[in-house]
């Protein structure tokens, strides 16, 4: 049997896959955080709650309305995005003129409010969400058994991240976004409705978090706390990648997911902290992050 560093290849591949799946969620979530931070200069602490909201909306759609996974995959992120748009327009937008700390505190409070509300109605325990029929079962890849749903999550997140990257780097709307990140006042003086752009950006970030939540629902249990658990890691990812760097957020998300998975092979006890160790090292050597611009 093939071994690397004394561990069987099967074990490596299994953890690599697990790492890639976690990395898929890290990438989608940190991408949304980076997009929001880049334009709004708000550290969106509600991001984990929005992810949880996506999963719950999908679950409630299934149990109360009989809406299946595929429709939920489109509808739930739209619901979360719409909620995000309303929050940005009515509340968050009033804080831009103040110290950035207010935005952070507001979104932190919002996260507590959303999570507390769901805990009140649904309790802290998780609820299962069935894997859609078309993606049930698995494939034998020879070196390992791949559950099809997990493969789908990796592909779907890669496609989504690529699409968002293309949107930002290659489209007219994206050029408004990039320019507004540099100088929103000048862009608005050209006749671009920048306040609307900010609302759309927050909605996009929220929708991405919601989509990640729907994708996560069949893998993890749907619970009011699922966002709290993942968001701490995602913040570390954003710090390592460099605040506001779109490509950095995506690549770092996958890489740290993989690093976490591979650490499980060699030294399982460290897998929970490896991301934070990497964060500490990066902060010492390159405070602006791997992809950040040095100030």
């Amino acid at each position: 049997m093939t071994t690397i560093f004394g561990y069987p290849l099967v074990v490596w591949m299994g953890q690599l896959l697990l790492g890639l799946i976690n990395g898929s969620f890290y990438a989608m979530l940190s991408l949304g955080l980076a997009v929001i931070f880049g334009l709004l200069r708000v550290i969106n602490f509600a991001h984990g709650a929005l992810y949880m909201l996506g999963a719950f909306v999908a679950l409630l759609m299934a149990t109360h309305l009989g809406i299946n996974y595929w429709f939920a995959l489109v509808l739930a992120p739209l619901v979360v995005a719409a909620g995000g748009a309303v929050v940005e327009r009515t509340m968050l937008s009033r804080l831009y003129k103040l110290d950035p700390l207010y935005g952070l505190l507001f979104t932190f409070g919002l996260a507590l409010l959303i999570e507390g509300t769901f805990r009140y109605f649904f309790g802290a325990s998780g609820q299962p969400y069935a894997v859609p029929g078309a993606l049930a079962g698995g494939m034998n890849l020879g070196f390992m058994f791949l559950p099809i749903y997990r493969g789908w999550v990796i592909v779907a997140s890669l496609v989504v991240c690529l699409a968002v990257w293309l949107l930002i780097e290659k489209t007219k709307l994206g050029s408004y976004l990039r320019a507004s990140t540099e100088d929103p006042v000048l862009v608005q003086s050209f006749g671009v409705n920048v306040p609307l752009l900010l609302t759309l950006t927050y909605a996009l970030g929220a929708g991405l978090a919601g989509l990640a939540g729907v994708l996560a629902a069949p893998i993890y249990q749907v619970s009011p706390l699922m966002g709290t658990n993942i968001i701490i890691i995602v913040f570390a990812v954003v710090v390592v990648g460099g605040m506001g760097s779109i490509l950095g957020a995506i690549v770092t998300g996958y890489l740290l997911g993989i690093a976490e998975g591979l650490t499980k092979v060699i030294y399982p006890e460290a897998s929970n902290i490896v991301i934070f160790v990497i964060m500490a090292i990066v902060l010492i050597l390159r405070p602006a992050g791997l992809f950040g611009k040095d100030a």
Binding site: Y176, D183, S189, G191
Partner: protein
């Protein structure tokens, strides 16, 4: 005929500091006016207040018959005014071409991209490089070019020659004369009145947040003593 742009009793503040103390100026359609004045006298603030970038302002601003005082920032451009800021405002994360295409069209009759590239051949050559990789002169050209595309009727141009070499200043002068031929209305802010005398029809002199003099270009020789005094050249 009513002026295209009419500003009366304009006052403006940065937070608590009162910068403009009742600015009066008007610009007729097709005319190029030039605001002269030493550093810190409020020339840039005047342009920013007309655009609505400074929202703490009182007085009257009318453009093309419309009241601009209660118009949000992104609607000022839609009324037909284009702003070329002193610091040029070229975006580093956008290519030259993306910088050029950024401002939305506000009216028909703007220059086509081909016309612009004919007027500014350097920009065409470098259209795929990042905006801020251009030289200072090229950045100034780009800052002007991107407004010309939009069909704006009136250009607010803040110290376009600042820090540029003589040949580039000459090229900017050529562009301004070409624009005048096409009927463009221009509000030019300059410290270099030798340059301005070749393009402007009328002058205003600004001092401590007010216009203290106004005269046509033909009168420039008679005004030299006053200008030397107020501008300190």
């Amino acid at each position: 005929m009513a002026p295209l742009l009419n500003v009366a009793g304009l006052q403006a503040w940065y937070g608590e500091s009162h910068i403009l103390h009742g600015v009066d100026l008007h610009v007729n359609a097709g005319e190029t006016i030039c605001i002269l004045g030493r550093n810190g006298m409020g020339k840039t603030t005047t342009l920013r207040s007309i655009m609505g970038i400074l929202s703490k302002r009182t007085g009257k601003i009318e453009f093309d018959g419309a009241d601009l005082m209660n118009v949000t920032l992104h609607r000022t451009a839609r009324a037909g005014i284009g702003f070329v800021p002193e610091e040029r405002g070229i975006f580093a994360t956008l290519s030259v071409q993306e910088n050029l295409m950024l401002p939305p069209k506000v009216a028909d009759g703007g220059m086509s991209v081909d016309e612009i590239y004919n007027l500014f051949p350097n920009l065409k050559e470098r259209r795929n490089s990042p905006g801020t990789k251009l030289s200072g002169g090229e950045q100034q050209m780009l800052a002007m070019a991107r407004i010309l595309r939009t069909g704006a009727k009136c250009l607010l141009l803040d110290e376009p020659t600042e820090g540029l070499a003589p040949v580039i200043i000459q090229a900017i002068g050529d562009v301004l004369r070409e624009l005048k031929k096409r009927g463009m209305t221009v509000v030019l802010v300059e410290q270099n009145f030798r340059f301005a005398s070749k393009v402007a029809d009328r002058f205003y002199v600004m001092d401590h947040g007010k216009m203290i003099a106004e005269f046509p270009v033909a009168d420039l020789p008679n005004q030299m003593t006053m200008l030397n005094e107020t501008l300190g050249v």
